[in-house]
Symmetry: C2
Subunit: 152 residues, 2 copies
DNA sequence: CACCCTCCGTGGACGCGATCGACCGGAGCC
DNA sequence: GGCTCCGGTCGATCGCGTCCACGGAGGGTG
């Protein structure tokens, strides 16, 4: 991870569809060199995926909710997690410090679907209680932040 | 937005670097036709961007926090928002229903940086209080969910 | 019913990009 | 000094992106 790798990561975070030739121009290397570097970033786990970012409303997911989960003292955390993983509406899942073990970001089409999701979550073995907040609007999301070189 | 458009969106959400030729094979059209459709999805706002998804630890952002913000009754929401927007650590910003007007997802390198961020947030005019939860681990994030055709 | 217009696709052509292999130069080590 | 390894450039080949001309389906109109 030198300065050129950081530039490449930053360029690809801004636009994942840049060609290798274009990346090469931006960082001042040849296209094959860039190709090899990006390949190593991918296989080294630095770049996990390339994703198109989609307007959720356009694909029928107009309702965003953030849901805190308090675990049952008797439950098995891994089982709970596995159950969450089966629910496609849950786009993100963080294991948190604090009373609420998990924080979930879920997206559904309607409030009715959200209700059903919350019911399913509440019924999940190991879940003691849920607390749901509805996002009225998303101001921005997953904004890439500039990479600063490791303070050495 | 017909079935082919939905397939294209789904394919690109899974891998934004697929070539037009590959997309064309997957959906059974020619490459120019796919090119045009994808172009319309982009300019129509359905596809907002293409982003490389990066392992945050690899770029020195090992600490993820979720921060609820309670607004001052006297403050101007737009000004508060603008202040948040200036802070690159805030990757996502949702305007919420409930006591906490905003929920922020922030990523920083160290707990010390998180402390500084919280101090800056607390001092922001219009912010009455903050409540921070630290993500011990991210189980998954921004998982694309399968697109279901609008129930017509 | 014939006609035309529009939309959306195909096929062909051409230039550029992706990618492979051969080669090369500097750093580190005997 | 010379070997080896790493990471780069260069050149060639093949496939892809992209532009353009053409064509067929569908709908509105005289």
């Amino acid at each position: 991870m030198d300065a050129i790798d950081r530039s490449l990561v930053e360029l690809l975070r801004g636009n994942a569809r840049l060609s290798y030739a274009e990346l090469a121009r931006q960082v001042g290397l040849s296209a094959p060199a860039v190709h090899e570097r990006v390949g190593k970033l991918e296989s080294g786990g630095v770049i996990r995926a390339y994703r198109a970012e989609v307007e959720p409303e356009a694909i029928g997911l107009g309702v965003t909710a953030l849901i805190g989960i308090v675990e049952d003292s008797g439950g098995d955390t891994d089982d709970v997690l596995e159950t969450f993983r089966q629910m496609p509406e849950i786009e993100s899942c963080y294991f948190m410090a604090g009373v609420e073990s998990f924080l979930l970001k879920a997206r559904v089409g309607t409030i009715a679907e959200l209700e059903q999701l919350i019911v399913r979550l509440s019924r999940t073995p190991g879940v003691a209680s849920t607390r749901t907040g509805i996002a009225l609007s998303t101001k921005w999301e997953n904004r890439p932040q500039p990479i600063e070189p490791p303070a050495s």
